[in-house]
Symmetry: C2
Subunit: 294 residues, 2 copies
Amino acid sequence: MSGPHRDEIGALVLLCAMVSGEETIEKRSAKQPLRLFCGWFCPFAQRAWIALEEKGAVYEYVAIEPYQEDASKPGGYSKNPLPLEEKRRRYPEFMASSPKGLLPAIESTQADGSVHRIYESMVCVEYVEEALDGPSLMPLRSRPEARAKVRIWCAYIGEKIIPHFYRLLMRETADEREAEKKSLLDGLLCLAQAMDPVSADGGAFFLGDEFTMVDIALCPWWTRFRSIAGTYRGFEVPRGATWDRLHAWGDACENRPSVARTIVDQSRLIANYTGYADSSATSTVAQTLAAKTT
Amino acid sequence: MSGPHRDEIGALVLLCAMVSGEETIEKRSAKQPLRLFCGWFCPFAQRAWIALEEKGAVYEYVAIEPYQEDASKPGGYSKNPLPLEEKRRRYPEFMASSPKGLLPAIESTQADGSVHRIYESMVCVEYVEEALDGPSLMPLRSRPEARAKVRIWCAYIGEKIIPHFYRLLMRETADEREAEKKSLLDGLLCLAQAMDPVSADGGAFFLGDEFTMVDIALCPWWTRFRSIAGTYRGFEVPRGATWDRLHAWGDACENRPSVARTIVDQSRLIANYTGYADSSATSTVAQTLAAKTT
């Protein structure tokens, strides 16, 4: 672990000591009509998880372990995904909701007995927004231009930021890793420039005081930029000027109770990513995202 | 031009003789507070264009020509994009709405003088849906699971169908082209299987009677599968079994008045794609989509 990141990781460990994804998993283990198929390690699943916590929903957290067992790895699992037929055998309800076997998925049994089955992380977030009561995850419908801005930058995060995180972990040469680091920082800077100013009340979300889908879209990775990319690639988001807007945003997100309740033990997560660090990552998401060239 | 496609292209030419994108462009040329920055050749822009026509909106069609002039090419333009600074010089209002210089974009001046500026094709469609009165382009909000289904398949179209169309045009070897053709057909078959059955009233849209964003997301390419991919790559969507659901869908879309009013002269479009056929395509969209490996 290189020097400059120790403080940041220390702060993260502290954050996790205060609030715990693991405690939330335990608390949400009882059977409910609304079920989230989730994985403690998965940032895509964390998006849907945050949305449910933000809404104050009553839901069941259903733990899915989509990787093959490997006693030699920390936590007891490899990053080799189970074959689809094996996923269907172990997790038939999950697979009924997510035909490709990707996390997250939602199963919601209605009063009339009908069942809604939803997959794709941001589609799950939008479903939670539209199907459940509670705080809105989007600007009001009377502000269609603000809603459009949220959608534009959700797409941007998926195309121009997240893939570079996975490629930074998977690329093998120093030059390639430097190029990915630069692309990741370029993407983050462009996002920071698009953020509304911090509000008079100190609201530092993408839209200032409003916590919306665009915050949810990125914040699971913000934590991982420091814990995973910091540990294994010496990745660090600079300070000063526009970068400070991004750090203020990240702090605001991680201190949001709904987000904090989904942040798992980072040392466990760091151990879980060992496979990525030695370029042996084979998870479907990592392979797909690393292969994209845009 | 190979044999089997002549009838299909003949039918397309007939379709264009009845209704004309060119007539709509002419009809919508007057200055209005709501402006669509569009290109007659651009299927992404056509998505936003269809949404506006479907809503019965009063709007101004602002023609953008983002490619460099080349007198040797049909229509007088190459497929080499203008440099961004040149786009900014020629089209300052368009570039204010679409910072990357990609079509489509919307500029909407409000009663209070404020201006909404929107880009990204599906974000423009959602903006039109939310900002304007007229027929809904989504299932009602009381059906969040149907809205989620529309969103899941919009994403699928963007990831698993459209990139293969561009790669089919750009790949150079017969083997690579066959592989892309197969991937394109696999994607279309999977979409067809996800469609609701044709309704009792004969409604053949993705959700049966309801014309929604998921229909808008693909139908600009459906026309091009036959005119462009048919002409230059002998591409043909099979008939029979599940394929018939797809053809019924395509017919329903192309006969929808809002869609028909945006379909331009296909012989002009075929000439415009000459550059793609000889593997010299350099448009930003084609290069980006062809480079993606998923």
